[in-house]
Amino acid sequence: MTRFLLPLAAFVLLAVVLAIGIRHSPEKGVIASPLLGKPAPQFALPSLTDPAQQVRSTDLKGHWYLFNVWGTWCGGCREEHETLLQVHHAGVVPIIGLDWKDDDTQALGWLTQLGNPYQSVATDHSGREAIEWGVYGAPETFLVNPQGIVVYKHIGALTTDTWTREILPRVSATAGGSS
């Protein structure tokens, strides 16, 4: 007798899974980063403003910083620019930019025209550095703690909401310890 109830039971289980799937679906296409909790990649790349100079990860050791991957060709980056400027003016965490697969002149023009939220900007023409960070689309933003561990990754345009709810608490909560 009970075996006739099996299909219904199986379906109920499936419906639950699908419901959970819908709840998660705004994050679909968002793959959890394997870098979370691991050391951020070390880098030494030419600076956008002065290619003779380098932007080095070693210089950033001991500080929180945001690592923001962007490009002038990227619509979402245009969207998040205002938010990045706000973060910059707040002065809590510096933003290091990675100009990904972009044209240097255009990038400089962009920053001049729209304002520069970055403490420094590294250029990645070959795409190698972005691969090290597991970047697969722009914009992406990483939060790195003073010990050099990646503690948070945001995919897509950064919003003030994300800043106040995800990034700021992590930075303020731990004065020195890793999260």
Binding site: P7, L8, V12, A15, V17, L18, R23, H24, S25, A32
Partner: protein
């Protein structure tokens, strides 16, 4: 004006569908004959309203009415007329309307063909179909209205997705949906039987032609989709185990099992609850497929724009329809018992194995398709499933099935008497092995272990299928259409197996960089690149390459692959050049401009790939032949005598 009319027509259709559902189910339940009789009027009314709405939408496209948001999203003033019409179902909202239209079509067909059905049963069938229509119409009006207006109207449209600007768009979705939606009829028959509380062998006989026709359409639809992907995508792939492809393949697998299970229920009154469950399952998978591609729960380049609110609505609909049907099943199925018997080597056994293996195949595809979703929901991390999973696991159930098929068609009902066919079966197996291995090792120098197995199975099934028809012909007996249809369909399947094995084993592929005048050799073909020249289309600019193809020195063709840049959506597509020669498909696709006239070009030689789709169409033809057998329309001469423990007669 026209969009408002269309919108209004949809609202009326919703009301009529509701009436259809109400009269159809409540009428027989409360023994109100007037209600039961009113159902056909509701069916007709709903069909007219839905057709009106579809006509309004198509006309809006033809008239380039960019005040309609959906038209503005999917059309453009430069879009040729042919595509303006087909664009109606080019995106989510319109394709839903197509779904509803085809459902109305099937409902009308059932209403027209229900003359020989008992009136109360017919009313119930139409009532259940009404419930489905109601759900889809509600969903469309609430979340996916194609008639929403833009104010002010857009100056021009965003153009139809260039990949869809292809004749395939005109045929693939309508035919695929016809099949997909057609399983709702079997579903409705099943629900009606469960509501009625009895299921006799006449039920199976009535259901068979409807199910087989839907199955034939679905077979064509899937084949068309595969063929379309093949020549549109540019690198010779025709099946990717993409979630959306799987969403149409699972109903097909279960539908095949259903077609065969119905045969057993029809003939022997066995497997009743099993057949009921398959009928529910087939349509449930169709509904689930609809859910998967529109709700954003699955990542697929194939899916429609993701929208969680739509997902929730469809899920609720799924729960009501499928949950309701399965609850009915849990309630009624225990009453269906039969005390018929059969032996191990009987046809019933083979059909049982057939069903089990097909369901296992469907379950495997299901597991693989939903694995990422399940893994994510249960916090097990992101899981990745692709062809490396599907290909081997699918074959695990399919290869045994092919072997059983060759033997099973000679098993008799009840007492198999396979001994009678043993000699011929062994002979045909031997012949098949010789032909298969000869083909593999004779024409080609290399082959993996599975290649001769697949080829042998293909030939064996054909030879085995032909034994009975040839025998009948020799003895001067007629071949009933259903048997002819079965033979044709099985041969089609065998050809598909043969062709697929060949393609998988012997395809050659090379990417080369050529300057004008450069040559490359692949297999027995030589290719000379003649450079590119600019070409202009109705709504695109293109460069067309020129490649001269020869085989062992003899000229074959000059092929012209293109790379198109569409004006409006700035999308670049690669138009493959395909040529059929000596049973091989030669494919050329342009890659990148490497500078100084050099281009990267992909060359593929795919032997017998066209046979795959031809075989699928043969299968569908077989199904159509079988469905048209007039004996399905005559009730059984002997009403089956009541058997101990037979279904009670409540309701």
């Amino acid at each position: 004006m026209l969009p408002e009319l269309g919108h209004f027509a949809l609202i009326l259709a919703l009301l009529l569908a509701g009436l259809q559902a109400f009269f159809g189910i409540a009428g027989p339940a409360f023994a109100r004959e007037r209600w039961s009789n009113a159902v056909t009027f509701a069916v007709a009314g709903q069909a007219v309203m839905v057709a009106t709405a579809a006509a309004c939408l198509i006309t809006s496209f033809v008239n380039e009415d960019f005040s309609v948001a959906y038209v503005a999203e999917n059309s453009n003033s430069a879009l040729p007329l042919f595509y303006r019409v087909a664009a109606m179902w080019g995106a989510h909202e319109g394709s839903l309307l197509l779904w509803i239209l085809l459902l109305a079509g099937w409902t009308v067909a059932v209403a027209l063909g229900s003359g020989r059905l008992p009136p109360r049963f017919a009313a119930r069938v139409l009532g259940v179909l009404g419930v489905v229509s109601f759900g889809f119409l509600l969903f469309t009006l609430a979340t996916s209205n194609p008639f929403l207006r833009l104010d002010p109207p857009a100056p021009d449209g965003r153009d139809l997705n260039p990949i869809l600007q292809d004749p395939g768009l005109a045929v693939h979705p309508p035919i695929l949906y016809t099949g997909y939606v057609g399983f709702s009829v079997a579903f409705a028959f099943a629900c009606a039987a469960m509501l009625e509380g009895k299921l006799d062998q006449n039920w199976a006989r009535w259901t068979r032609p409807w199910t087989t026709s839907a199955w034939a359409f679905l077979t064509c639809g899937i084949a068309l989709g595969s063929f379309w992907a093949y020549y549109e995508l540019g690198w010779g792939g025709f099946w990717f185990w993409d979630p959306v492809e799987n969403a149409s393949f699972m109903p097909w697998l279960v539908g095949t099992a259903l077609v065969h299970s119905l045969a057993v229920t029809d003939k022997r009154g066995l497997f009743k609850s099993w057949t009921l469950l398959l009928a529910i399952l087939a349509f449930s998978l169709s509904l689930l497929g609809t859910f998967l591609v529109r709700s954003g729960v699955l990542v697929s380049v194939h899916s429609f724009a993701a929208d969680p609110t739509r997902g929730i609505f469809i899920l609720a609909f799924l729960i009501i329809m499928i949950g309701g049907a399965l609850a009915l099943y849990a309630w009624r199925a225990p009453l269906l018992r039969s005390s018929a018997g059969f032996e191990l080597g009987a046809r019933e056994s083979f059909l049982l194995f057939n069903n089990v293996l097909l369901v296992i195949a469907a379950a495997t595809v299901f597991a693989g398709t939903l694995a990422p979703l399940i893994s994510d929901a249960l916090k097990l991390g992101t899981l990745s499933v692709g062809p490396p999973y599907f290909n081997p696991t699918f074959m695990v159930s399919m290869l045994p099935l092919m072997a059983l098929l060759a033997v099973g068609i000679h098993a008799n009902w009840k007492r198999g008497r396979l001994k009678d066919s043993e000699r011929m079966l062994l002979l045909t197996l031997l012949a098949a092995a010789v032909l298969g291995c000869g083909f593999a090792y004779g024409l080609y120098s290399h082959a993996s272990v599975l290649t001769p197995v697949g080829l042998t199975l293909g030939v064996w099934i054909v030879l085995s299928s032909l034994l009975d028809p040839i025998d009948r012909w020799r003895r001067g007996l007629t071949l009933p259409r259903a048997v002819l249809g079965m033979t044709v369909a099985h041969c089609g399947l065998a050809l598909a197996v043969f062709a697929l094995t060949t393609v998988q084993s012997f395809t050659l592929e090379r990417d080369v960089a050529l300057a004008p005048g450069g040559t490359a050799t692949v297999g027995s073909y030589e290719f000379r690149f003649g450079g590119v020249k600019p070409v202009q289309g109705p709504n695109y600019d293109a460069v067309a390459g020129s490649v001269t193809v020869t085989r062992h020195g003899a000229p074959v063709a000059v092929m012209s692959p293109q790379k198109r840049s569409y004006w409006v959506q700035h999308q670049v597509t690669s138009e493959t050049a395909i040529r059929v020669d000596h049973g091989n498909n030669v494919l050329l696709a342009l890659g990148e401009d490497l500078g100084a006239g050099r281009w990267s070009i992909r060359i593929q030689i795919r032997p017998l790939v066209s046979l795959v789709w031809i075989a699928a169409f043969i299968m569908a033809v077989g199904g159509a032949l079988a469905a048209s057998d007039r004996r399905y329309r005559t009730a059984r001469a002997l009403e089956s005598a009541p058997v101990e423990g037979a279904a009670g007669q409540p309701g």
